[in-house]
Every structure is written in C-alpha cells, then in structure tokens.
Symmetry: C2
Subunit: 306 residues, 2 copies
C-alpha cells in the first residue's frame, strides 16, 4: 500500500480525468496533504496536446490499488469505471459531475458533485472558496478540461458556470480559448494510427443496470466518413470486446465535433437501443442528430429503458 | 406531484434532520428557489424542545412522494432511510455527513458530504461560502442540531469544525451552549410516556448489506436502569418489528448521555453482533463502554463483518 493518497480519474482517461487529477493534486498539496495524481490508462492525443503545451509529464500509470489504500476520485464515481480494487480502498474524497451509481462507502467522506459540464469547473470553485491563488499551469489544465468536456461550449452539458470559469481561467493562462481549444480538439481527432481495438478503447465507459452491461465508447472526429472506412474491422473489435467482457450492448459514438452530430455503431441488444432512441438501426448504424454528450444524451436514455 | 421542491431528513427524524431541513429551506429560499421543508415522521421530545424554544411549528408530515417529485435530502442518503417513492423521485441535492450507500440517481446532481459530526455544520459553511447572513432562528436550529448529533461535543463523531461552527452560532443566537444544550438533551431523555413500540422507533435506522437487514435504534437517557425496567416488553416490540420487517438483526442502543456509554439489547443474528464487537451477549444484552455513536461505532462495525 502506498502511503500517499492517490488521486485519479476514470479508466480510459479523457482530458478532464487527467487534468482534474493534476489540479486536485495541486489543491491538496497547497492544503498540506501528501497526495499524488496517477492515471488508469493511456493518455489520449487530445490530452497529450495539453501536456505538450505545458511541457509536463503525464501522471504515473497504475493498474490496481491494495486494500485500505487512501484514494481521491475525480470525474467519476461508478466502481465499474474506477481502479481495480476500488471496493476495498478507503475513498476519502470524490469531486465529480456525473450521476451517482454503483458507488458505496463504509465510512463518511467528502463528496462534492455539481451538475455542471466539467469536473474542473467545480475545482475552480474550490480554489475560489479557499481563496487559493490559481497559477498559470493549473489554469491551463482546467481550461483544457472544460473545453474538452463541453466541446468548446457546444455540448448540452455545458452550463453558464463552465463558460464563466473557462473565461476567467483563460485570462490567467493568457490563452485565446477558441484558437487553443480548436487546436486541442483537432489533435484529439487524429485517429490515423489507432488499431480498431485501440479506437474503441480511447474513451469507453461501462454502465450497469441490474445484470445488463452497456458499453458506450466515443471518438471525436472532424469527418465521420473517415472513421467509417474501417467499419468492418471496428465491428469485429466491438464484438470481441463484448464476448470477453460479457457486455449486452455496445454503442460506439463517432462524434462530429464541427457539426455536433454523432453516428452510432450499435452491436448486441439492438432492440434496447432502438427503443431508447425510437430509431431503426440499419446495417448496425443509426445517425443521432445533435447528439454529442454520452452523459446527457446517450447513457441516461438507454438506462431509462432498462 | 407538488410543484415545490421538498426538503427532508431521514425517517424517524432526529433533531439534525428536522433542524437542517428548516435551515436548508431558508438557504434555498434566500437563493430564490421554491422549496418547502417537510418531515418523514414524528417530532421527538428533544426536537420539540427546540421548536418550543423558538416558538415555531414543525414542518408538515409527508409519507411518500410521487414519481418525478423534486426533492432535497439532508442528513441521509440511503433509500431505506428515505421517503417512500424515493427511487422514482428527482433528487436535486443532497447535503449529508454519512457514508454513501444504497443510493443512486439517473442524472447528475448537487451532492455535498463532509465527514463532520452534523449536517448543520456543512450548512453553516454553505451560508459562509455564499456570504449569506445567518439569522437568530437559523443559528439556534443549527446549534441545536450540532449539540444533538455530537452529544455536546462528547461523541467521537464530533470534529473541530462542528465545535467551531457551534460556538459561532451561539454568539449569533445569544445562547449559552452548555446550559441550553444540557436542557435540550435532557428533554430528549424523558421516555416515560412512550410505549415499547414507540420507544424502539424514536430514532431507528435500517442498514442493508446484500440480503442482510440490520436495524439499529438508539435512545438517549440519563439512567440506563430506568429503561431496562421494561426490558421484556421492549424485546417483544423488537421481535414484532423484526418479524414484520424481515430484519436479520436488531440492536437497540440505550445510551447514557452523562457517562457516554451504551447498553445494547441485541436480538436476531446474535453471532454477527458478537463477532463485530468481540463481546459475548448475555441475556440479550452487551455493555458497550465509550460507545455513543451509531454512525461511527456501531453501524460500520457490524457492516464490516457482513
């Protein structure tokens, strides 16, 4: 067991998970706590753009935690999305912006959730509440997380608080949100050197309802057709994943970040998907107009049917 | 369905549940929200002392909520301790100081938990964070809740933050904490006109682990022997409750608030209790020295064995 408290976001970390872990580490260190930000998976290209911009290293990769390990969760709470061994860890703090489910502790804890678009927006408020100065590095990390989670304020999950926080952070970081943000998002859409197996794991989350396991993966792109060129191979990778994992339904969202639509590839229990979206799946595909948010527009819609 | 958002504490409400509901109502109204504090059960004598002191009425009693009803939970989160119909309600906000378990939402929400001794300590911080003035009435309500939950700072659940908040609130309310607090606690120990059925329901909570249901009730007294005079009748009431409710284990804590010990009456799966506390139960009883907190010293100890 590590003496330090470990801080991490969800498996298949996105930019919010990595950046908020690093910001939370700074916040807790400022308060005198012995903590370390770590990560539960590979850094994606969008996040790598942020780390390169700042000239910093990614947090250390971990795979599991021992019984009793003190941990802080950011950007998630569901055990299925967390580190292996989380059931036996000592969860001290959670800072998150998702629904609460498949989560349980034996002891009281700090839990701070708000229905905003990004974990970093809550961290920004925590710095303000503590009258803690925000430095350029943390401002850039939080700004990047907000741009990523809200797709430059275009996602329906984006709130006035996210926008306001991002604008304040842009001043501290001396960054033009639109220029930087679009470059960052585009860096994340370069899918050229991913194998199909890697592609479906870039940003993939499992949701459990009773015995039913739904996997919802998402990739961002500037051109949906480019991604669909490998549809057959992608479907094979999805099928292999479902067989290994025992998933009942797999939805891959290919999200056009310029036009704010998603093409879904759907495998497994297709009627559940069709009932949820009142759409016919043809050739394993359905076009979801205006859908860009897994959290707000996909996961609850499917879970509602189950 | 009611248009207003309903705010309530747990079933078998204690002083924190009632007072924090009223304070949260004030907090949300100050922010312009349409809310109403309600309660899920009878007001106990300790709480009645507080309401009489302030010359105010108890919140309205409710029994269940309709599907989609907007609610705010204070001082609890576990569905087993909440209103009937909670599974289908829209939980907008939780402010609590307990572990999180048997709780789940479909949508993101506000959740504020801290491992302090009383919900009102967190509400006090929320007023401060919003730079909201605390009036005499709310100061008295929060102070009463803190005195009740921490047994005048003697419970192991009491933190430095609870004490500090209570002292600040005492200034606003112009109250001598010790004099008022002891009178209030003593008012709660008058058990003379309770039937055994009522006694075991004054402050009773259910904890669920898998299929195992544990009921832990607590009464405060200045003299344990007084309560034990009706031991046979109390045990009958406990047995009836377990049969009706399908409980596997029932622990009644008779807590001596002057000396900070508890006499436990234990029925049902006694070996689970004995393993948890490493104690032999004799004549359905075990004396728990220094034990006054169900949350910190009893519930987790039993749940840990299960």
């Amino acid at each position: 067991m590590e003496e330090k408290t470990l801080i991490f976001g969800h498996k298949n970390p996105d930019t919010d998970s990595i950046c908020s872990s690093l910001v939370m580490e700074k916040f807790d260190k400022n308060l005198g706590f012995d903590v370390e930000a770590v990560r539960l998976g590979d850094v994606n290209k969008e996040t790598q753009y942020v780390l390169n911009y700042l000239g910093i290293e990614a947090p250390r990769l971990i795979d599991e935690v021992c019984e009793g390990q003190a941990v802080v969760l950011v950007d998630h709470n569901e055990f299925a999305q967390s580190v292996n061994g989380i059931e036996k860890a000592k969860i001290e703090t959670v800072v998150d912006h998702h629904r609460i489910a498949n989560f349980e502790t034996a002891e009281p804890l700090y839990y701070r959730a708000e229905p905003v678009g990004c974990t970093s927006t809550i961290l920004y408020k925590k710095f303000k509440e503590e009258n803690m100065e925000i430095e350029k590095k943390e401002a850039t990390l939080m700004l990047s997380a907000i741009v990523s989670d809200t797709l430059l304020f275009k996602s329906p999950t984006c709130t006035a608080e996210d926008k306001k926080a991002c604008e304040e952070l842009a001043k501290i970081a001396s960054i033009d949100i639109n220029t930087y943000g679009l470059d960052m998002l585009k860096a994340g859409t370069d899918l050229s050197d991913f194998t199909p197996e890697e592609l479906i794991n870039i940003d993939s989350k499992e949701f459990v309802s009773g015995d039913f396991k739904v996997q919802v993966a998402q990739v961002n792109t500037a051109c949906i057709e480019d991604v669909l060129q490998n549809k057959v191979e992608i479907e094979k990778a999805m099928t292999d994943f479902m067989n290994q994992n025992g998933s009942n339904l797999f939805v891959l969202l290919i999200t056009d970040i310029l036009n704010s639509n998603s093409q879904a590839i759907v495998l497994g229990d297709i009627p559940v998907f069709e009932k949820a979206f009142n759409k016919t799946v043809e050739n394993n595909m359905a076009f979801l107009e205006g859908v860009v948010s897994r959290k707000k527009q996909v996961a609850p819609v499917i879970l509602n049917v189950l």
